[in-house]
């Protein structure tokens, strides 16, 4: 068939149908853009269908069709609509689409992006990549061949990916003489299969993509079909509405501290967020209210929301909380689960199977955690929907399974499609996504029995580990007190160790500078190290300037999460006194501009608001101070023997 001899189709030049200054369909109020995936068995005509849709809606740039026609003629072939799509040489050679392709097109009513997903078996990962971001799917079935393996597999994956808007196009009707009984047989068989998956297609439509029948117009050769054309169905599909009606789920993607503001940025996965909203961060349970919504360019008056689902937002909070990537902001009354063990259905697309017992990185929203595959309940055969035995202990490439898994630390998630973005995850095989899954249920579990109980260590040592965190200006006397306290504790038979800022800076943190972020990272490392030592039974005496409240709060919270007693000590001396002492000549250098961002000079120090103990080194003797410190430390390390200086255990 010659391209140029095509019968004229109704004109669809979009400009004519639009108001002179209006935007086209995609941006008209109440209208929306539809992402559409085309799936089906290899050679059932996906690329031809897409090529034909593009051509018939006048979405092909000038020259492209002519070039392909010339190329086809040169090869002695008839015009191939599929070549409009398959631009890469290798694809034309093999006659299969290799990867996900996205092509925009529009009609009078709306705009679309077609995601072409390949049908070739090895390329399932690309089909998933395409289908996971689609609003609706066209499932193509060759009228001559009927349901094939990939047809069924694709149906299964569409249901797992949560796609509910599906139209079935029975293609190549021209090759079966346009007979209604062929169409009816496929409709019955596929309808039954999809029904078992809980999927109800919007329509079954008989078409011939090659001849443009059933796409934009009805075919004279199929008068027995009285339903809508394919395009009519596509125009009626809904773009997936963002879940603004559901509970707020604000995934923390990052926290920015470019200036005095501490900006928490990330996507609103569902619900909406406004200034003044109470918000709780899960996991962790820290609460505050939204203080501001940050925008650039600045808006006047500043925005107050609501910002709805599907949007990115950047907020500040009324309280200085240590919030980090992976936490999910939620209303106090409707929070996601915070748990470690759950069941899920997974699909696997990596050559190296997923094995029972293996530890594998899991990503869910912006959270990341190591997950242990506890058991593979059963593998499902995506083609027959039969259950496998599940005794192999692994899920091979292109298989689907129900598994039970446990992440190393609690994560926040929703189940049962409540908030889809927080109910699905991927598993990483090296740098690549190895598979994906949907969480079905939470598994309750008894408190975990650990291999070694910290109690057994304290039985040997006669005390337990804890952290005595000294904060204060340079020269306030932290190191002096820390060293004296260490000696006093060692004399009392208590294993203790000083964690000194200078020592950290020359070792563990030698790659860090003194920006707010680097200081924060330095303290994170210090806190982690201190917690490890304390867990091993050591009384850790941290002597660190730690100028920012939020970093100290982070250290305290981390310790608390891991069951390590923690006390904050404010080693206080006025700046003038510290500068007079200047034991390391640092103030002198800072004043001369040789040390930028020096705490107290050109970088702020935020004194503790409620320290467990405050030592005024300009007013009291070292002996007096050590007496108080030792009492507090002993109280933490041997809680049964004495009650200590107000530390929260």
């Amino acid at each position: 068939m010659s391209l140029l001899s095509e019968t004229a189709l109704p004109s669809q030049t979009p400009a004519e149908s639009l108001p002179a200054h209006g935007a086209p369909a995609a941006q008209r109020p109440g209208s929306d853009h539809l992402y559409l995936v085309v799936v089906g068995h290899v050679d059932h005509g996906k690329s031809t269908l897409i090529g034909r849709l593009l051509f018939d809606t006048h979405s092909v740039p000038d020259g492209k069709a002519e070039r392909i026609e010339a190329a086809c003629k040169a090869e002695g072939m008839e015009f191939e609509y599929a070549f409009l799509l398959d631009a890469l040489l290798e694809e034309q050679a093999q006659n299969i689409t290799m990867d996900t392709t996205r092509v925009p097109f529009h009609t009078e009513r709306r705009s679309f992006t077609i995601i072409d997903a390949p049908g070739h078996k090895e390329f399932l990962k690309n089909m998933i990549t395409g289908a996971a971001s689609a609003d609706a799917a066209v499932l193509l079935v060759d009228a001559q061949e009927g349901l094939r393996e990939q047809t069924r597999r694709h149906c299964f994956l569409l249901s797992l990916l949560g796609l509910r808007q599906i139209v079935v196009a029975v293609n190549k009707m021209d090759l079966v003489g346009y007979r209604p009984e062929v169409f009816d047989r496929i409709r019955a068989e596929l309808g039954e299969f999809l029904g078992r998956l809980g999927v109800e297609p919007a329509n079954f439509i008989p078409i011939s993509a090659k001849h443009g029948e059933g796409l934009l117009r009805h075919s004279d050769r199929m008068p027995w079909y009285r339903g809508p054309t394919l395009l009519e169905v596509l125009e009626k599909f809904r773009a997936n509405p963002p879940a603004s009606g559901g509970p707020l789920r604000f995934s923390v993607q990052d926290v920015y501290r470019f200036d005095a503001r501490r900006i928490i940025a990330g996507p609103v996965e569902s619900g909406r967020i406004s200034v003044g909203d109470p918000i709780e961060f899960v996991p962790g349970g820290k609460r505050s209210r939204v203080k501001s919504i940050e925008t650039w360019p600045p808006e006047n008056p500043p925005p107050r929301g609501p910002i709805g689902a599907g949007r990115q937002v950047a907020v500040t909070l009324e309280d200085e909380l240590f919030v980090e990537r992976g936490q999910v902001g939620a209303p106090l009354t409707d929070k996601p689960f915070e748990a470690r063990t759950f069941t899920a259905r997974v699909f696997w697309i990596h050559d190296k199977p997923l094995r029972s017992g293996e530890l594998i990185p899991l990503k869910l929203g912006t959270q990341q955690a190591e997950a242990r595959i506890l058991g593979i309940q059963r593998t499902l055969d995506a083609v027959t929907l039969e259950s496998g035995t599940g005794t192999t202990g692994e899920v091979k490439v292109h298989e689907v399974a129900e598994i039970r898994m446990r992440v190393r630390r609690p994560i926040a998630f929703d189940v049962g499609g409540k908030v889809p973005a927080l109910g699905r995850f991927v598993l990483m095989r090296g740098r690549r996504i190895g598979g994906g899954g949907v969480i079905d249920s939470v598994v309750e579990e008894p408190p975990e029995a650990r291999g070694v109980n910290p109690v057994s260590r304290s039985a040997i040592l006669g005390h337990r580990g804890c952290i005595v965190w000294m904060t204060g200006l340079s020269g306030a006397g932290k190191s002096t007190l820390a060293n004296a306290l260490e000696q006093r504790l060692l004399n009392s038979g208590i294993l203790s160790a000083v964690l000194d800022g200078d020592a950290l800076r020359t070792g563990l943190s030698r790659n860090l500078g003194f920006t707010a972020d680097d200081r924060s990272e330095n303290l994170r490392r210090a806190a982690e190290l201190a917690i490890h030592l304390a867990n091993a039974g050591v009384v850790v005496i941290a002597a660190l300037i730690s100028p920012f409240r939020v970093d100290r709060a982070m250290a305290a919270e981390r310790a608390k999460e891991r069951g390590v007693p923690f006390a904050e000590i404010f080693v206080n001396a006025p700046l003038a006194e510290c500068e007079r002492r200047d034991p390391k000549q640092l103030y002198k250098k800072a004043r001369e501009g040789m040390i930028p961002q020096f705490t107290g000079i050109d970088s702020p120090y935020e004194p503790p608001l409620a320290p467990d103990l405050e030592i005024r080194t300009d007013r009291e003797s070292v002996d007096d101070s050590i007496g108080k410190l030792a009492e507090l430390a002993l109280g933490l390390a041997r809680p049964s023997e004495q009650t200590g200086g107000g530390a929260d255990i």
Partner: protein
Amino acid sequence: MSHLSDLESHSIYLIREAFHGFEKPAMLWSMGKDSNVLLWLAKKAFCGRMPFPVVHIDTTYEFPEMIEFRNWAKEHYGFDLAVWTNLEARAKGIGYETTDPVTVTHELKTVALQQCLAANKFDALITGIRRDEDSTRAKERYFSPRNAEFEWDYKDQPPEFWNHFTTDSGPGEHVRVQPLLDWTEIDIWRYLEREKVPLPGMYFSRNGQRYRSLGCMPITKPVRSNAKTIADIIEELKITRISERSGRAQDHHERNAMQKLRAKGFM
């Protein structure tokens, strides 16, 4: 305008992922319309900051008006600008006066970019390419790994779904982060209009001609147009079926020029 806001939101998500996921990301900037949307989105993503350097690969064949815009924008937005030129190639006399445009583009853009990446040890490059620009770009991922030789393995791309991407790279490798992949040319113009993003004047009609896509001076031709405002340009684009890069000679020099350029690391 929800479609534009959807595109904007997703792009900002991708830019933030790039900043979070990599040690040393950088943003490529050509001063062109897409590049300026990219800058704008980055400013939005970081509430007015630009927390990574902006790189301009200067072929030395830039339009003077674009260089003027470059200098103005650097001050206006306030970012670290890194300009890189393949000086060795220029010293060897490689240029449009002596050499075919595909070779020149490869030397002055791709090789220059390789040099810049090696010198700065960038591990991610945020670029403004769009799927609808060229059919080979239609198959790109948002996060697209490039090996140490800069090659794009388009036959075996990593899966990418549910907003999870490849966010690390091996030694010498880097990842192209492509936040504008889903945008079309007309989306870009509508967004530029909605947000009032500053643009070089060459996109607008003077004496019945304007530039639709801007590249090197000797190989970039204007199109006939009377579009003096963004609204005019949008009207014009609704009617035209001539491809966007038709004024860019290096794409047409030989069959599959674009595919060859891209497999070798071209943007």
